[in-house]
Structures are given as structure tokens and as C-alpha cells.
């Protein structure tokens, strides 16, 4: 059932939801952007609709709600481990179709890779319900249509924002009673049908081609451009790597915690082992690793769609103006050439 709800009324509903839910949405942090007098839009707890930034793409993805940047996993005293705790509320996330697909990719990584589900991801993820934010045209770096993540029916509620009201499609029985008194509407979310950019996923058909792909000069062309900052990883809804470290609370050297912190495959020491041995020592090799993970490796492993959902955040955030979508298209062109040679 769909309804039209004024912001004012929605705020009352949000307030009542808050007794059971933490509500996350893209929020503006004024002047906290990378450059002076630019804002940062990222996911945070909200308590009214006006806080939701619905007409801009967020700089960072909603992954941090289910996969926090820093997360304590265990606490310890001299000889004991204790599992870290998590709040007892459920979680509602306002997000777009691409990000819902993105979280599904994270589900694969955390819940299905290997034979045990990740406890820490799972305990947050189980709490989550999605509120789809309708997307009309997307933005100039989006390529969700090419990645098939422009549409979804995987949500509890969907919203379209107007100036001081929103239309809301409520699919989840849990929320239906809350809207009983609201004016009904015939709203169903529309989806982006076309992006300004089209991205072709490389058609790598065999290991042989993959070997050739590894040695393409294309990758080296990034050596002088990429500064290995890892911003592309940080903003990506599907980047899931982390590092585990132990820390000691300095006030009391006997207590400490084991924590998990996001890691970036673009950083030089991502593969560094004791003794200093590293794999993928150039920016180009590391970008190749990332690119292939996003459009090839993950798909091979899970026998499903590619990992990248085409949100375009990596393009938006790269300080060196490296376009991931352009990289993938260049790669696809090269692969087509290789395939052509092979078919002859």
C-alpha cells in the first residue's frame, strides 16, 4: 500500500520508530568535505526527514552501517576474551537501489565466502531493513543500468521525496499499521532507465585470456597517476576488506581490544608479510587487482553477477580523476581484441 505523508507527520512516525529502530540515512556534514568549503555527505543516524540528503549522491556508501570502519570484536583482560556487544535496536537504512544490490554483495562476502558466516557482520545485518530512496536520473558518474543494479524489489518501504511531503510504498507488514490513517497514493517507485555512461563488463572467457589481461600495458598507464590513497576502496559499497589488530588501552596496560578496521587493497602494505615481502608492488598492479575483483574474480567465485554495482562513487572520490568506469571500458576493449585474435 502507498501513502502520501507530510514531513511533519513523517517526523512523528520516525519518532515512534526510534523506540525500536536506529534510522540511518545520508546526512550532510557541512564543510567537512575533502576540500575547503565542501560538504561531506555520509551515512549517520537521523531523527527527522529534513536531515536526509535525498537529492545528492552520498560521498560514502551505507556499508558502514553494517560494516563499521572500526569495530571492536573482542575485549580482553590479562587472560580472558569477551565478545564485543552491539546495540539492541533494529536498523532502518534509507538507500538507493545500487546500494541495496551492494549490500547483497557484502552478504556474499561476509556470510557465504568460506564455510562460516561472519558473526560481526551477521549480527548487524540481521537487524537491517531497507527503505529504498527512489532515484530518477542518477548522476553523471553512475552506471547502475550497465551493472543491472538500477532496479530492485528488495525493500521494506520505498520513498519519493517532494518539497514537504513524501510518498511511501509500504511493503513490509511490520510498518503497515503505522500508516493506517495516512492518505493513500498510487505511488510505486520508478527506476533509472539509462545512465550517461555505459560500461561493458569484460568478456574474459578463459585462464589464457586472463593471463594476457594481467600483462596489458593498460595497467602500467596508471602507475604515474594513481597515488594509492585507497579512497576508491573506502567509498565503495562492495569493498569489504579489513585488518585485525590488537590495541592496549594506555590508561590500563592490562586491558585491550581486538578490533577490525577497513583495509584497502590499494595501499602498499596490503599484502606485506613479515620480512617485507609484498605482492603487487605498483599502483597499476593494485588497480588491476581491484578492477578484476570488481568485474571478474567475484563473479567467478560466486557464479553470480559481477561485484561492482555501478554507484560511481570511486570515480567521484578519486583525487587523481581516475575513472573506474573508463578503466573497465578500456579493459573490455582490450579483451574484445584478444577474443577476436583467438577466434581467428
Amino acid at each position: 500500500m502507498s501513502y502520501t505523508v507530510s514531513f511533519e507527520r513523517m517526523n512523528e512516525l520516525i519518532q515512534s520508530l526510534q523506540s525500536n529502530y536506529k534510522i540511518f540515512a545520508p546526512v550532510r556534514f557541512e564543510k567537512r568535505g575533502r576540500y575547503s568549503d565542501t560538504d561531506m555527505v555520509r551515512y549517520a543516524n537521523i531523527s527527522c526527514v529534513e536531515e536526509i540528503v535525498h537529492d545528492e549522491k552520498s560521498d560514502f556508501s551505507p556499508k558502514e552501517v553494517v560494516f563499521p570502519v572500526t569495530q571492536a570484536i573482542l575485549y580482553f583482560t590479562e587472560s580472558e576474551f569477551m565478545e564485543s556487544r552491539v546495540h539492541d535496536k533494529k536498523i532502518l537504512i534509507f538507500l538507493r537501489s545500487c546500494d541495496i544490490h551492494g549490500i547483497r554483495r557484502l552478504d556474499n562476502m561476509f556470510l557465504r565466502n568460506g564455510n562460516v558466516a561472519d558473526f560481526y557482520y551477521k549480527r548487524l545485518r540481521e537487524k537491517v531493513k531497507f527503505v529504498l530512496m527512489e532515484c530518477h536520473d542518477g548522476w553523471d558518474t553512475c552506471f547502475c543500468v550497465s551493472m543491472g543494479s538500477n532496479e530492485t524489489s528488495d525493500y521494506s518501504m520505498a520513498v519519493r521525496f517532494h518539497d514537504d511531503s513524501l510518498e511511501i510504498d509500504v511493503k513490509d507488514e511490520e510498518f503497515e499499521p503505522m500508516f493506517g490513517k495516512e492518505a493513500q497514493s498510487d505511488f510505486t517507485p520508478e527506476f533509472v532507465k539509462q545512465n550517461a555512461i555505459t560500461v561493458k563488463i569484460p568478456d574474459i572467457r578463459d585462464k589464457d585470456t586472463l593471463h594476457e589481461v594481467y600483462n596489458l600495458p593498460l595497467w602500467q598507464s596508471y602507475n604515474s597517476r594513481c597515488q594509492s590513497c585507497g579512497a576508491c576502496n573506502a567509498v565503495c559499497i562492495t569493498c569489504s576488506c579489513f585488518t585485525t589488530t590488537d590495541v592496549v588501552y594506555s590508561e590500563n596496560g592490562r586491558m585491550g581490544e581486538r578490533r577490525r578496521v577497513w583495509a584497502s587493497c590499494q595501499h602498499e602494505d596490503f599484502t606485506a608479510m613479515a620480512g617485507g615481502h609484498r605482492f603487487r608492488t605498483t599502483p597499476g598492479e593494485r588497480l588491476r587487482f581491484r578492477a578484476l575483483h570488481k568485474v571478474y574474480d567475484y563473479r567467478q567465485r560466486f557464479k553470480t553477477e559481477q561485484m561492482c554495482v555501478g554507484c560511481g562513487r570511486c570515480d567521484d572520490r578519486c583525487p587523481e580523476f581516475i575513472s573506474f568506469s573508463a578503466m573497465i571500458n578500456r579493459l573490455s576493449e582490450e579483451v574484445d581484441k584478444l577474443n577476436e585474435v583467438k577466434s581467428k
Partner: protein, 337 residues
């Protein structure tokens, strides 16, 4: 041709004497070094109608038009009236009469600024906006003062070599939980700045004392763990100058002061100059006035009535380091002044 011209009077009108007798160079103010590009057609018109067809991008970011004949000055002054009104009055809010007589004074010089945060990725402040605000305070005054505004401590605007150099600095804030311990900020700080960051237990610690407020850590951070606080802060360098006798680099007077403080001290500037020069605006620049008054007197007068923000830092003493082209150039017979 009668060349009986009072060049000092003409200079006050912003026309500079040429080596060619009877010719002058007009210096037009461009506060902050930025104006709408449409004004270039005005520059072209002046150069081709009254000047020698060229213009120089003045060292203090003026439109400088050489080769203007003494006889043309009135016509030129009448012509630039609209420009003066648009830039000085409408854009900067300068309180002045705009008439056919051209610029009323050359005293307070054009305010120089780098492009600032409207364009530059490194800048911490909007240099243009600040230049325009300060223009309304210092102009038109017959007292000589040079101001330069730099968007960040890299100081492309050379605030270190001017009477009042203002540099945009930032207070950064660290979000412990957003930090992934990658060390990129530590590297950036060591590379570009003062090496005040280091890693401790996979997070970052900062030696607050020596942070220059450049914001390189913010630029380097992949997760946005470092960010600038929304309030803008400034560093003020004083007493820098070039010159034949004793050029010197300015010294830090204030650090991490807010815009209100900058406005406050600039408002005290004219009074300070007048007092030091006994109300005679002779051709002597700000730095020399600070020398005359002595730093402590300067500090007292310039900060008079100014409320410093809590983060502000003020120099207790200043140790000038001049380049003396003759040793002990400051050691003079008692009679000389």
C-alpha cells in the same frame, strides 16, 4: 610641451611616472586579484585609446597601463569611473565618492591574493571574499599599507613578504573511529609539512604544538577521518618587505585567529599609522611603522578593543631577521632618523 607636473600628486591619483617625459602608468585596483573577465575590454580600450597598447599584470595584481600621456589623464579618470564604482563600491562595499577624478589615493595598496578555495584544492579560505572585505576597511586611506592573502601556508601569495600577510590555516579534527590507520596522513604531513603526525596503536596521534594548519592530512585521508572545522582561521605575518636596504621576511604575529580578529586589527590600522606618523601620511610602509613604534606598542594599539578568539595565539616578542646589504645598517648616528 610644458612638463611642469607635480608627480607626487599624480602618483596619489594612481598614475606612476614614466621614464618617457610626460607619460604615466595607471594602476587600477583589482582587490584579491580577481574581477569579471569582461573588464578586460575596458583595459583594452584604455590601452589602445590613451596608452601604448599594452598592459602589465602588476606585481601587486593591478591592471597597469603604461604610456598614458599627461594630457589624457582626465579622460582616463572619467572613463574608469564605472569600474571604480562596480569594484570598489558595489563589490567591496568601500565607503567613497566616485567621481571623474579617478582613484582618490595610492596609500593603501591593492590587496594581493592567491586564487583561494574557490578553485585551489589546497586552499583553506576564500581569499577573494576576505580581500574584498578588507578593501572596504583599508581603502581609501593615504597611509601606505600592503596586504597579501594566501589560501594556505604554502603561501603562493607571499604573505611572508608584505606588511600584513594573512594566511588561511585550518584547525583539523580527527575522527578516531573513521581512521583506518593507513598512515597516509602521516606520510603527507612529513612530506609537505612539519611531521607532527605519527602512528600509535594503529591510529594517529598529533603533536598539536607544531601543526601549521595546512590541511594536507585532510586531503590525504581516504575515509574523511580528518576534516577541517567549519570555522575559518588565519595566521598573520607582519613586517615583511622587499627593498634595497634591508629586505626581510615577515614574522608571525598572530596564529589561529578568526576573521573577526582580522577585521578588528585592520580597523585599527589607520589609527596606528596616523599616530606613528603624527598624522602625516608620508610614503612609508607598514613594516617600517612597526619598526618605529616598536613591536610592543604596535601590538597594544593594533589589538586595542579586539576580542581574541580562544584558539588565538599572539607573538610575545618578535626577533626580526633582516638582510643587511651593508653590515650594521641599522646602527646609525644619533642625529639621523
Amino acid at each position: 610641451m610644458n612638463h611642469d607636473i607635480d608627480i607626487k600628486e599624480i602618483r596619489k591619483n594612481c598614475f606612476r611616472q614614466s621614464k618617457v617625459k610626460g607619460e604615466f602608468m595607471l594602476q587600477m585596483r583589482v582587490p584579491g586579484g580577481i574581477v569579471a573577465a569582461k573588464h578586460l575590454s575596458m583595459v583594452q580600450h584604455i590601452a589602445e585609446t590613451w596608452g601604448n597598447g599594452t598592459f602589465h599584470i602588476g606585481t601587486r595584481q593591478t591592471f597597469s597601463l603604461p604610456g598614458i600621456k599627461y594630457e589624457s589623464i582626465d579622460a582616463v579618470n572619467a572613463y574608469i569611473k564605472d569600474y571604480i564604482r562596480e569594484i570598489e563600491v558595489d563589490t567591496c562595499g568601500v565607503d567613497m565618492d566616485v567621481n571623474d577624478a579617478g582613484y582618490p589615493t595610492i596609500g593603501a595598496r591593492n590587496i594581493v591574493a592567491c586564487i583561494g578555495n574557490s578553485h585551489c584544492i589546497k586552499a583553506n579560505i576564500d581569499t577573494t571574499a576576505l580581500a574584498r572585505k578588507l578593501e572596504s576597511i583599508i581603502f581609501p586611506s593615504h597611509y601606505h599599507i600592503k596586504i597579501s592573502i594566501a589560501g594556505c601556508p604554502n603561501d603562493c601569495a607571499k604573505a611572508h613578504f608584505t606588511d600584513f600577510g594573512i594566511i588561511g590555516v585550518t584547525k583539523t579534527e580527527y575522527d578516531y573511529d573513521r581512521c583506518i590507520g593507513c598512515g597516509k596522513c602521516v606520510e603527507a604531513c612529513a612530506h609537505h609539512a612539519t611531521r607532527v603526525l605519527s602512528m600509535e596503536q594503529a591510529k594517529v596521534v598529533k603533536d598539536e604544538c607544531c601543526c601549521v594548519g595546512c590541511g594536507e592530512c585532510v586531503l590525504a585521508c581516504p575515509t574523511g577521518a580528518w576534516s577541517r572545522v567549519p570555522t575559518k582561521f588565519y595566521r598573520v605575518m607582519i613586517g615583511g618587505r622587499t627593498g634595497k636596504k634591508s629586505p626581510r621576511m615577515g614574522k608571525m604575529f598572530l596564529n589561529f585567529v578568526t576573521e573577526d580578529v582580522i577585521i578588528g586589527i585592520m580597523k585599527n590600522w589607520e589609527k596606528f599609522s596616523a599616530e606613528v606618523l603624527e598624522h602625516k601620511p608620508v610614503y612609508l610602509h607598514g613594516g617600517h611603522l612597526i619598526d618605529r613604534a616598536g613591536y610592543h606598542k604596535f601590538k597594544e594599539m593594533i589589538l586595542d578593543g579586539v576580542t581574541l578568539n580562544p584558539e588565538a595565539m599572539v607573538a610575545q616578542r618578535i626577533f626580526w631577521a633582516e638582510t643587511e646589504y651593508r653590515s650594521n645598517i641599522n646602527v646609525l648616528p644619533v642625529a639621523t632618523k
